[in-house]
Symmetry: C2
Subunit: 227 residues, 2 copies
DNA sequence: CGGGGACGTTTTGTATACAATAACCAGCGC
DNA sequence: GCGCTGGTTATTGTATACAAAACGTCCCCG
């Protein structure tokens, strides 16, 4: 994407992640144009991308709001991600080259090193983790699958920035990755799928603990929220 | 979406489906603006949607082309659709009300009637079929799942318009739908999932026969195609 | 005191002109 | 003849002005 709309995208995204805007708050294109220093045209382009990534939401009358996910929304995303990424792991098991498997091993060494620092380097961990999962998805050789997963992974990452990670959680992640590499080396798609499944489902429960208990039946209307 | 960009979207989509443009052909925003009778601004909006739906593709240098799916692309879409729609069927089995199940039954009566005409009314069949699947997806109550599926269903539909349906294919579809309704009535998610799986996988094979044999290893570069 | 409608304000949508970039082509040196 | 380089055209990207639509409010009427 071109320069201005790309800058707008990054700037708006950073602005949202910075926490300086509340979930559910209304934004206007003019505001965003001022913040980003470009005109409304590229802002609108950027906003469309962010809507697609579910970071922004439009009301029925086209007004723009900061997305605000319910616990059920988040669980839905995790369920979908699990379904898709298990599939990716299974395909990857058949397709990864020896070199690619070695690269995954290296990424996980990096990740493990980040975990075993004291205190653990969460930023370094997240980056290695992202790269690890991305490599698997790439190896699945399914461009649309990759595109869908990118959107799903994108969203929860935002909330995660606020979350505190325990070292034991991080260590478990590293062990899961080790086992994934073992499954890949054995070319065992079923094994890879199973490990990926428990890896992600556990991640959801860890995540959910910090968000709060399940809303049993609250009907929650995203769009009608006021600023 | 607003009036002009909505019109542009429909017009461009119709233009693509009409078959008057070849797959891989280059389009320009100006051309599309002329065809649709609106300015480039709403055209760009419409084009973004069509890119998202994979009907249009952009080259690395932002030039716009009519999408041209390989057999592998199509299989990928069917695989993903199967994965997601099986999930939807399973969820729907737990959530559909008696009334909704009755509505599905009615839709399938309509579909069956279209099939048993002579000659079968394919347009009527396709519309009932679309409504049937959509109702299931809606009942799954997973908005992002619905969004993803919409994109996947969208794309192959285009090619389908060119395809000829045999009456026995259509009858088998109707029977599958009957069995799905039975699975829903029994609230058996596993059954529903299984029926949906075979329904869609068979659809893929039927479809694939008309497209031609699998390309075993051709590395096929969508974006570098010339007009 | 409450509801409804007209009006001003805010916000989004569209057209158009201009800027930047990519493709094309022709001419030149080798 | 081949490949490069310059300029030329085609195409996309951005800014801005204006149009349309939605929102809020205030006043009037019941």
């Amino acid at each position: 994407m071109s320069r201005a709309s790309e800058r707008a995208y990054s700037a708006i995204r950073a602005h949202l992640l910075s926490g300086s805007v509340a979930a559910g708050e209304q934004l206007t294109e003019d505001q965003l144009a001022q913040i980003t220093g470009v005109s409304r045209t590229p802002v609108r382009e950027a906003v469309r991308r962010l809507e697609d990534e579910l970071l922004l939401v439009r009301s029925d009358t086209k007004r723009l709001f900061v997305a605000d996910w319910s616990r059920d929304d988040i669980e839905e995303m995790f369920v979908l991600r699990q379904m898709l990424e298990c599939h990716a792991a299974e395909r990857a098991a058949k397709r990864l080259s020896r070199e690619q498997i070695a690269a995954l091993e290296a990424l996980n060494s990096e990740l493990t090193a980040a975990v075993e620092q004291s205190p653990p380097d969460v930023v370094r961990f997240l980056e290695a983790n992202r790269a690890f999962h991305e490599a698997i998805i790439d190896a699945a050789h399914s461009p649309r699958l990759g595109q869908m997963l990118a959107k799903l992974v994108e969203a929860p990452v935002v909330l995660r920035t606020a979350r505190t990670y325990s070292q034991s959680d991080l260590r478990q992640s590293a062990r899961d990755h080790d086992e994934l590499v073992a499954a890949f080396a054995a070319r065992d798609g079923d094994w890879a799928r199973a490990v990926m499944g428990s890896h992600l489902r556990r991640a959801f429960h860890t995540f959910a603990k910090t968000v709060g208990p399940r809303a049993d039946d609250a009907a929650n209307d995203q769009d009608s929220r006021e600023a």
